[in-house]
Symmetry: C2
Subunit: 428 residues, 2 copies
């Protein structure tokens, strides 16, 4: 790993820049697919399944039999692990529920917010080599707690038209309403517009490749909400002399194995820590099955040595990492300074893997510096916060005159009149 010693502050922002993807042709391709799905619905899905996923599908909807069959194929051990993770995720997301608080702002004027579930949501789970059943927990559990009525899931099948059993098991466990065999931009289009088989939804969440990401961006402009903009995954580890270089190296590599475009950044006050971690990274790298990917990611990554822990936190805030690990026995001392991060892991035993699977926090987080302006997925992602107000006769008498004055000053006479007719009635 490249080590950069005490970079001047003016250079930080360029160090923190993420790679930019050239995507001109991508937009046109995805737009074509979306329009096709909008127009030709299931027929278009069948075509793209054949064309892009190389599979002939008679039906997109996963049957009860397929789900029952899948359950038999998931080991007891894995089922229990998934159940433990689900339980922790439930506990944490349950704690995010908010009861309406009625607030009197002026006597006779009561205001409150009520969280109401988004009725129909769609989850996207990518296919490929790794079956990301953990992401079903992260999206399905809060959707269920929020009370979403329709929670559908789209995921691409393999060439035999089957879906990984662990995905079906987990989807059934969390209570997904309907599961469909559909992947890529076409699946996003199906959930945005609806087809004969797949219902349209109001919000689409979940990770995906560049086609999926672009499709989500485009349908967002058409009024369907999405979880957040996406980018490659990343971790920033702040390590001091109380950290364990073996742990830090393992954490950096667990990020690096996601893909060649992942970034794993080490920030430390200690040159010795930097050297030890670099040596450990090289050693552990050789043992990894996905080492070719991880090597490329490490090449895009770097270590920064800075001369104070304050500067380490400042650098991290500038980078705004998706995952921030404070690898230190004194982790709690860093907490107050953290401004921009998706999810934070405190202390030498809080590894990113814990949050990726089972600590209870959500692993769908803002990447690409978006931690400066976006939150990760939470119960909030599945509700609208509707405001209510109840103004009594006493209330309108107290605030009516002020409203009349302001409406008049804004040139909105009818707004004023809505108050005037009420005050007049009360004075009769």
């Amino acid at each position: 790993m490249k080590i950069i010693n005490n970079p001047a502050k003016q250079t930080w922002s360029s160090l923190c820049k993420r790679a930019v993807i050239n995507e001109n042709s991508l937009q046109e391709t995805v737009r074509t697919i979306l329009n096709d799905v909008k127009l030709n619905k299931d027929k278009a899905l069948t075509k793209y399944a054949q064309l892009l996923d190389n599979v002939s599908l008679n039906s997109f909807k996963v049957t009860e039999e397929e789900i029952a069959e899948a359950k038999k194929l998931v080991s007891e051990e894995l089922q229990q692990a998934i159940q433990l993770a689900k339980s922790n995720i439930e506990t944490f997301h349950n704690s995010q529920k908010e009861a309406p608080k009625k607030i009197t702002t002026t006597r006779g004027v009561t205001c409150w917010r009520k969280n109401v579930a988004i009725e129909k949501v769609g989850l996207y789970i990518p296919g490929g080599s790794a079956p990301l059943f953990s992401t079903i927990l992260m999206l399905g559990v809060p959707a269920k707690i929020a009370g979403c009525k329709e929670i559908i899931l789209c995921t691409p099948p393999n060439k035999e038209g089957a879906i990984n059993p662990a995905i079906l098991y987990t989807a059934s466990l969390v209570g997904i309403t309907q599961i469909f065999k559909a992947g890529g931009a076409q699946a996003i289009g199906a959930m945005a517009y609806g087809t004969e088989t797949i219902p349209n939804v109001y919000k689409i969440l979940g990770p995906g490749n560049q086609f999926v990401t672009k499709a989500k961006e485009l349908i967002q402009q058409q009024g369907v909400a999405i979880d957040m903009p996406a980018g490659p995954s990343e971790v920033l580890v702040i390590a001091d002399e109380t950290s364990n270089p073996v742990f830090v190296a393992a954490d950096l590599l667990s990020q690096a194995e996601h893909g060649a475009d992942s970034q794993a950044i080490l920030v430390t006050t200690s040159d010795k820590v930097a050297q030890n971690v670099a040596a450990e990274v090289n050693k552990q790298l050789e043992e990894l099955p996905r080492r070719e990917l991880a090597k490329k990611a490490i090449k895009n990554s770097f270590t920064v040595v800075l001369n104070s822990s304050e500067k380490c936190i400042q650098f991290s805030n500038e980078y705004a990492p998706e995952h921030l690990i404070i690898a230190s026995e004194k982790a709690s001392e860093y907490v107050g300074g953290i401004i921009n991060a998706g999810s934070v892991f405190l202390g030498n035993y809080s590894c990113e893997s814990a949050g990726d699977y089972a600590s209870g926090t959500n692993h769908t987080l803002p990447t690409n510096g978006y931690a400066k302006n976006y939150s990760g997925v939470s119960l909030d992602s599945f509700v609208k916060k509707i405001t209510f107000q109840e103004v009594t006769k006493e209330g309108i008498t107290a605030i009516g005159k002020s409203i009349e004055i302001m409406a008049e000053a804004e040139g909105l006479q009818a707004h004023k009149n809505a108050i005037t007719v009420r005050l007049k009635e009360l004075n009769n």
Copy 2:
């Protein structure tokens, strides 16, 4: 107002469709302006101020002297009205603060969320005939409560290069950091990219014309967050025999005066209420200074008569109104059924004007049916919710094995290894 009697349920969704704006050429125009501002910064702003707002500006930044001068021009009466509104908005948005709640999901595994302010936000306030100082309260007050460090405001000046005194007074009252004379898509570009004078921000909020809306949509794709997608303002009133037709008509018209594309929908179980309100609308319309606009809006609006209050709420949920007024003495009976709405006004004295200015709720709300999947602006709009977790030795011992099993099943060996190295250390 057109009255539709007991429309069949299959026709509801077409009744609820909003007008679609054709915007092909708009996108290209706005993209050109944004690119120009990105490249030429202040120079581009000067050019567009001349070209589009017909004003020569030497400097964009509003000075302390201009603010002090403005204060003298705002009547004592208006100042007090604005202060009352500010106080109520503060009370309600203060109640939205959340203290971190530490949750133990498994012994030794503690998770919590901490709300941290978005550091830099930009507010846009349109110019034109009505100086919308009330929107400064709605955006500036929660930004200040959240703790945003930089809260800038852009608003177009008049041809003399001046800004309406009530806008400057209110901006100064809520503690806006810097005020700039810039309007339209170019102002959005300036806040997104930064210029020599105007700092870039991470999130842009506030209403605007179609150029501003399109610019916000485009910069959102470039990583700057926005409050929500925008559309014309709208109200849906549910009225029963306990409502007051004079009040209902005044409320419908207060919506209609916003613009020709505004919608004001009446839903009622009573044909008599429908007739009485229609007559009152025609009567009050003639008195309004903005009656030409309001007449056009009323033409695009309609009344629906349905045969039960349940159906009225169902229709409202299908429409998903920005503002929902329950004009009834039995308003509380309707609350449980409300699924899709931006802000709800309960009872005959809770008019929309109250929420527009001074009840304490926010008036920046989802339009265009977006109440199905978006919330209005609140304190949440100005913070990121960062998750934290602290896993102790005991904690990793409890959940480590499950994480190893899941990581292995997802084919992520390095994720598993981050646990393995820790468990190994603990077993030594």
